[in-house]
């Protein structure tokens, strides 16, 4: 029974990782932009959840507000900063977003302070399901997993089955051709970046009740997201989902079976994948 629960833990953790990484892979895959500030957006989401739910008294109200605010932030950043880097070497994107990390961290410290905060789980989801005589499983975690799956489905449908998705795919595979066919690339880039930021922030908001809100939470998440994108393949949401689940399993079972190796297990996994598939599991050249 314990193994089943650990499998449940793995899947739940993996799905959450996918949610956080989805924004990164979107921006990466469609815009070719490396966004080191991704972890910062996750953190901003968590802090938004904290401040907005304190103000409005409800996480349900905080969510749409937070999504709107972070999308707006994404639009502004793209217009002011990111758009100036498209033609330049990736190096500059790396450094600019690195600078953004420092800025966001300090702004957070100045505006909200350095304390640890928690966000209340909405009452309707606050129960725990008894699984064994000793162990219960929080319903909220199951809820997060459901949301991740729903979001994955939504993204798949949007990108593969809608007209808007078609435009995005066109812009990603051949921007010049797409422009000459009349697509406004600038707008697509702006929207995709905003969506990526909003996804990261949404992940932060939804995870806040279980992860609590503290300085440095963005940094921890960033590297894992990078590994997910490397293993899954740039631009592949399917790859990101599978990679995230693999990491969820590696991390969970690593902690229980081989604690010494647990954290490196993820990187070993990555090294092995790269040996056989240099572009990741589902990456395109």
């Amino acid at each position: 029974m314990e193994w089943l629960i650990q499998i449940l833990n793995s899947v739940q953790y993996g799905l959450l990782l996918f949610l956080v990484a989805s924004g990164l892979t979107l921006i990466f895959g469609i815009m070719g932009v490396i966004n080191l500030a991704h972890g910062s957006f996750y953190m901003i989401g968590a802090y938004l959840a904290f401040t907005l739910s304190s103000l409005t008294g409800s996480l349900w109200l905080a969510l749409p507000l937070g999504i709107a605010l972070s999308a707006a932030l994404g639009l502004v950043l793209e217009w002011a900063l990111i758009s100036r880097l498209y033609r330049r070497n990736h190096l500059y994107q790396v450094l600019l977003t690195f600078g953004l990390i420092l800025i966001f961290e300090e702004l957070r410290s100045i505006i909200v302070g350095d304390d640890v905060h928690s966000v209340a789980i909405p009452a309707v989801l606050a129960a725990s399901l008894p699984l064994t005589e000793t162990l219960s499983y929080p319903v909220y975690r199951l809820f997060i997993s459901a949301v991740c799956l729903a979001l994955a489905g939504l993204m798949y449908v949007t990108i593969q089955k809608t007209r808007f998705g078609m435009m995005i795919r066109a812009a990603a595979s051949n921007p010049e051709m797409a422009t000459s066919l009349g697509l406004d690339i600038r707008w697509i880039h702006a929207l995709v970046f905003a969506a990526g930021v909003a996804l990261a922030a949404f992940a932060g908001m939804i995870a806040a009740p279980v992860s609590s809100v503290f300085p440095g939470m963005g940094n921890q998440v960033l590297i894992v997201c990078f590994v997910i994108v490397v293993i899954g393949g740039i631009g592949s949401l399917k790859g990101a989902l599978i990679a995230a689940l693999l990491i969820g399993f590696a991390d969970t079972f690593g902690k229980v079976l081989l604690p010494e190796v647990a954290s490196i297990a993820v990187y070993l996994l990555m090294a092995v994948v790269l040996l056989f598939r240099p572009l990741g599991l589902f990456g395109r050249a």
């Binding site: 490396i34 900063l81 070497n89 990736h90 450094l95 690195f98 600078g99 090294a271």
Partner: protein
């Protein structure tokens, strides 16, 4: 280009040589630290500025050499510098060879990410296991023993000149290498790898060689840093460190050796200045980085040209991205 810089180089060298005469102990140590970081920046410049391989995991080789020194050093007596230094360099080179072999097959965005990921692997290896003190790091109580009579590395002044000599040698070495056929090939790869391949160059091998050479020199910097502080910890290989050295290159000017050194000096002095201004200095640093990326594409080395171009005194130079 080199000709007009030569007098500046001589001036800089003389200044550095004479600096200890006027400097207090604290500033002596500060400039020693900057010189070590200059070596680190130079090593990355070889990779990024001349070969076009943007690595976000270069700090791994810096850290591996540092840890090798700390682990090889005996607990009570000073380590022999002529034994531990080559050992540390070998460790960095080996790591660079291993990782490089896996990584040079990729390019562009992918290369950046995988170098980052492997550096993180090294970081977590040292951070999460008790092989070398974990996140607390390890201390080495004494500076290494130089064996040569008259050279006492425990003396800050002697150590300063030791590091200066290392910097001068690395600088000269890289200048020579970059003018050699090998160096020219690297620059050709940066300009257009496809073309180099059609010309018959085995570009993968050249890239790997550059990767290993850069990693080894980074190891030299790491060894010196560990020897200076007497302390190593995993943050030496954290991606923040890799990002910082990239920043130094951008700040000073990529693709020029002088730029790397200038960048190291500017970055550290800037940090010192900002920290003295406010406890939220990282905000200033972040803002500065963003501004530098947007406004100073050629770095400080390109600043004279930029200013002259603004005044219309120079013809427009093509962007070399």
């Amino acid at each position: 280009m080199k000709r007009s810089l030569l007098p500046w180089l001589v001036v800089a060298g003389v200044l550095l040589l004479l600096f200890p005469l006027v400097a207090e102990k604290f500033y002596l140590q500060l400039v020693t630290k900057i010189m070590i970081l200059s070596i680190f920046a130079l090593s990355l410049d070889l990779l990024v500025g001349y070969t076009g391989l943007v690595s976000l995991g270069h700090a791994a080789y810096f850290g591996i050499a540092a840890y090798t020194y700390a682990l090889a050093a005996p607990s009570a007596d000073p380590a022999n510098v002529w034994l531990t230094l080559p050992l540390a360099l070998a460790a960095s080179a080996a790591a660079a060879l291993l990782i490089g072999a896996l990584v040079v097959r990729t390019s562009g965005v992918y290369f950046i990410m995988v170098t980052l990921a492997f550096a993180q692997m090294a970081y977590y290896f040292f951070h999460d296991t008790r092989v070398a003190g974990g996140s607390d790091g390890i201390y080495v109580n004494t500076r290494p023993d130089a064996i040569v009579p008259g050279l006492d590395l425990a003396d800050d002044l002697h150590f300063y000149y030791f590091v200066f000599a290392a910097l001068a040698i690395v600088f000269a070495l890289l200048a020579v290498i970059l003018r050699s056929p090998f160096g020219r090939a690297l620059q050709g790869i940066k300009a257009n790898e496809h073309r180099m391949r059609t010309l018959g160059f085995a570009t993968l091998r050249y890239k790997l060689a550059a990767f290993v050479l850069a990693g080894t020199i980074a190891g030299l910097a790491g060894y010196l840093a560990a020897a200076k502080e007497g302390y190593v910890n995993p943050e030496m290989m954290a991606w923040h460190q890799s990002g910082a050295v990239l920043m130094m290159l951008i700040l000073g000017g990529m693709g020029t050796l002088v730029g790397a050194v200038l960048g190291a000096f500017s970055y550290v002095l800037l940090q010192e200045w900002f920290s003295a201004l406010t406890k939220h200095w990282q905000l200033l640093m972040g803002g500065f980085i963003v501004a530098a990326v947007l406004l100073l594409p050629q770095g400080l080395v390109g600043l004279p040209r930029l200013l002259l171009r603004r005044r219309g005194l120079r013809s427009v130079q093509p962007n070399d991205d």
